[in-house]
């Protein structure tokens, strides 16, 4: 469903050059959620941008089944037009993602309902509180029912309750396990606690490389945090 091969990418030139990706490869199928932990500057955002097709890697390739239409992105930028209502935003993005005209309204209502925002549908985005705006951004990412979700530090700015809600939602979306099917999630964060429970696979990124990449197995947050600390901060 999503595969990356030999990704290398650097910014700048000469002595000031920053190597953001230095040989990253992996394959993911539906029902898998890869949590990438790494400090700031490790190249997590660059990796996600390459997976999304925002950046063409200097070396290597990415393949996503279904192309751009299958990708939902939740990142630092809201992708919402402040002076349009929540619903208008969703309808706009749905149109761009090729959702059939007749389906757009019902789909928007469905997504908003799932996120508990149905009563805010006709409010302009500028009038929403931060938490609600973030939920609206998630709605936008889900409007076209993507089979791949790319999340760049999605828990930033969320309080505990909201973060737990988001985790539950993402777990649902990921699906998989015994039931089969489900989506692919790739989640990048610098906070181990946030993403560990969701993950089926775990990677530690440091200076553009994966210094650890393995299924989560039965490991809990404490174990993973310890392994992360050792891999990334020591040596």
């Amino acid at each position: 469903m999503l595969s990356a091969e030999g990704l290398r990418h650097a910014f700048g030139e000469g002595r000031g050059q920053v190597v953001a990706l230095d040989g990253v490869s992996f394959d993911l199928t539906s029902g898998q959620a890869l949590a990438i932990f790494g400090p700031n500057g490790a190249g997590k955002t660059t990796l996600l941008k390459v997976l999304a097709g925002l950046i063409r890697p200097q070396v290597g390739s990415v393949h996503v089944t279904g192309g751009r239409r299958a990708i939902g992105w939740i990142g630092h930028q809201s992708h919402l037009y402040e002076h349009l209502t929540v619903r208008e935003n969703l309808l706009f993005w749905a149109a761009l993602y090729g959702v059939a005209a007749a389906r757009r309204g019902p789909r928007a209502a469905e997504v908003l309902g799932r996120l508990g925002m149905a009563h805010r549908a006709d409010q302009p985005v500028w009038s929403l509180s931060r938490g609600l705006a973030q939920r609206a951004a998630i709605a936008k990412a889900l409007i076209h029912d993507p089979s791949v979700l790319l999340l760049d530090e999605p828990f930033t700015g969320l309080d505990l309750a909201a973060a737990a809600e988001l985790r539950a939602l993402l777990g649902e979306l990921r699906g998989g396990g015994a039931a089969g099917g489900g989506r692919v999630l790739v989640l990048a964060t610098h906070n181990v606690d946030e993403g560990v429970e969701l993950a089926t696979d775990v990677a530690f990124q440091r200076r553009g490389r994966f210094v650890h990449f393995a299924p989560r197995g039965g490991r809990g947050p404490a174990e993973i945090a310890e392994a992360y600390r050792r891999a990334v901060f020591d040596g």
Partner: protein, 226 residues
């Protein structure tokens, strides 16, 4: 092809809804146009030079300034709303994005010109009655050229330093040929000359439009991605 236009229209429509809803950019551009026309009036001596000689220049300098102001808004809008990344992640083709922005820009500039032209006629007492239709035609032809190149460049400058200033500097040389054509044809129209005398310049305008609309549309994909 149909898909391209549909998606372009989706983008254009969104832009226009936003512009008409917030109105700030539009009103600013219209007021700016009126101000420039006013300044021109105080900057000349009506007894020394007959208005009709300067009129085409006044009109076109005003329209050029207004168009350059308007061009910044296209991608500024996306940056302000943190939406450009969203557009680039989506399946929207870069060419559709270009055409969407081009259409929105053209409508925006057309509104500004639609207010500017009557003001111009009013302030400078210019007889456009009989030549209104061909005049509008020339305005449309020249504006298309300006805005086609301007839309491409406005995307190019977003990741540079001093974007608005750079846009003006790189765009101005490209505005010269359509400007020359537009001023010459306008002068001949206002002077009551038959349209046949302007054929050379009209061909220049048309050729410019064809070349630069296609070129800008094609090159856009190389400017907007990271």
């Amino acid at each position: 092809m149909g898909e391209l236009l549909v998606q372009a229209w989706t983008v254009a429509r969104k832009d226009l809804v936003l512009e008409f809803r917030t109105r700030t950019a539009l009103i600013s551009a219209v007021v700016f146009t009126a101000l420039v026309l006013t300044v021109f009036n105080f900057g000349r001596d009506p007894t020394a030079v007959p208005t009709i000689d300067l009129a085409p220049t006044i009109l076109w300098v005003t329209f050029t300034f207004a168009a350059m102001l308007a061009l910044n808004r296209a991608f500024q809008l996306e940056l302000e709303n943190q939406a450009l990344e969203g557009l680039l992640v989506s399946p929207l083709s870069r060419t559709s994005l270009y055409w969407g922005k081009l259409i929105a820009n053209l409508v925006f500039v057309a509104v500004v010109e639609g207010v500017g032209l009557p003001l111009f006629v009013l302030f400078f007492d210019v007889p456009v009655g009989r030549v209104l239709v061909p005049l509008i035609g020339v305005i449309a032809l020249a504006t298309l050229g300006f805005v086609a190149v301007g839309t491409l460049f406005s995307a190019l400058v977003i990741r540079t330093r001093f974007a608005e200033l750079l846009l003006v500097v790189i765009l101005l040389p490209f505005l010269v040929p359509p400007l020359i054509g537009a001023v010459q044809v306008t002068a001949r129209l206002l002077g009551g000359r038959p349209l046949s005398e302007s054929v050379g310049y009209l061909k220049l305008l048309a050729a410019y439009d064809i070349v630069f609309v296609s070129l800008a549309s094609f090159l856009f994909r190389f400017t907007v991605d990271e």
